[in-house]
């Protein structure tokens, strides 16, 4: 796994939303449109790369992608604890 995958997640979002400036960990990334439909597919591919695990598009739970906190808990903390 990459050294700081969450930094890569933040970079991905900020690169597409330079006006945001700073990302709060609990900010709703979907409702705020920081991640929109057009970026979502690439975002999933990024998470697959960072975790080394596939994400089935037909089995997505949007709440896992809602905030930096949710992403970290779902994709990175579980793995780190294993």
């Amino acid at each position: 796994m990459t050294a700081d995958p969450m930094q890569k997640v933040r970079d991905f979002i900020l690169e597409r939303n330079p006006k945001i400036g700073q990302l709060a960990p609990q900010m709703d990334l979907i409702d705020s449109r920081a991640i929109n439909s057009l970026a979502f597919v690439d975002f999933i591919f990024l998470l697959e790369e960072l975790t080394g695990e596939g994400i089935d598009p037909e089995d997505l739970d949007l709440d896992d992608f809602r905030s930096l906190n949710a992403i970290e808990a779902r994709f990175f903390k579980q793995k780190a604890a294993q």
Partner: protein, 292 residues
């Protein structure tokens, strides 16, 4: 539904309607479906695959190259199926709205033909590939929610148009590519034949709606242009499916996708694919040159 805020669309579609009627074919009997695809032939034109022109293509074994044409053909047809379903559902919702009353005759042809296209693409994928790739996930909250209803309406029809134009670039080429199996060539040919009418219609509707956007609030036009440029890039990205790379036995699919998407030869290929659409958007007044 917000469509009530749209001024009635008035277009002269007599010629397109006549062509749809005189060129009507029975999609369920027009094709001869072989038991299996002829061996030793690419399923998609080799120079249309997502690795064409890059060293990554040359590094593949001949077997992997053929496998890539197979799975990218399945991916391309799957994208067609999902795209058609999305655009059909938008059109079905509008067909009897007041704003579209003047074009509903053509919309009936459109829906009928698109349903038939969806059928033959799915039949090809399931019969010869044993699968469809799943649709790309979508989010309900989108980057256009803040725009006016008419701007969002223009974007919906532009998405339909852009999808059709990109697909048609591939169809038109593969319709005459003698290296392809007969059935693959035929499907591309028949689709191309119908899509030329749909593209003509889509362009007319978009120009009308964009005119309404400009009349209501010209400041919204650059926002429409920006969304459409992003949509063009997104559409190109969907052609690069890591699942197709994996199915073709190519390792490191995600890294390969990233490398391929950024490769200069591919950027040039993207420009070629999008050239006609970008030219149209610029002429219509919603080109990427408006983006600040």
């Amino acid at each position: 539904m917000t469509v009530r805020e749209i001024e009635p669309i008035s277009l002269d579609l007599d010629r397109l309607e006549q062509m749809a009627e005189s060129g009507y074919y029975n999609p369920y009997t027009i094709f001869e479906w072989p038991e299996v695809i002829e061996p030793g032939k690419p399923w998609m034109s080799e120079n249309l695959t997502t690795l064409a022109g890059t060293p990554m293509w040359d590094e593949l074994s001949r077997e992997q190259q053929f496998a890539l044409t197979k799975y990218e053909a399945i991916n391309f047809f799957s994208l067609n199926i999902h795209g058609i379903r999305e655009l059909m559902s938008e059109v079905v919702m509008r067909i009897h709205e007041r704003a579209y009353a003047g074009v509903s005759e053509f919309l009936h042809h459109f829906i009928g033909e698109e349903n038939e296209h969806m059928w033959f693409f799915a039949r090809f994928c399931l019969r010869y590939g044993g699968k469809l790739y799943p649709a790309q996930p979508a989010l309900r909250a989108d980057s256009v929610a803040h725009l006016s209803p008419v701007a969002r309406e223009a974007i919906i029809f532009a998405r339909i148009l852009i999808f059709e134009e990109i697909v048609d670039y591939f169809n038109a080429y593969m319709a005459t590519d003698q290296s392809l199996p007969h059935i693959a060539r035929e499907i591309n040919r028949v689709h191309h034949q119908d899509e030329s009418r749909h593209v003509a219609f889509g362009r007319m509707v978009f120009v009308d709606l964009l005119g309404q956007v400009a009349k209501r609030d010209p400041a919204e036009v650059p926002a429409v242009a920006e969304y459409l440029e992003n949509y063009l890039q997104y559409s190109i990205g969907t052609l690069y499916n890591p699942a197709a790379y994996r199915d073709a036995g190519i390792p490191d699919a995600l890294a390969l996708r990233r490398r391929a998407l950024e490769h200069p030869a591919r950027l040039q290929a993207h420009d070629q694919i999008l050239k006609r659409t970008r030219k149209f958007l610029s002429r219509a007044g919603a080109g990427r040159e408006l983006i600040g």
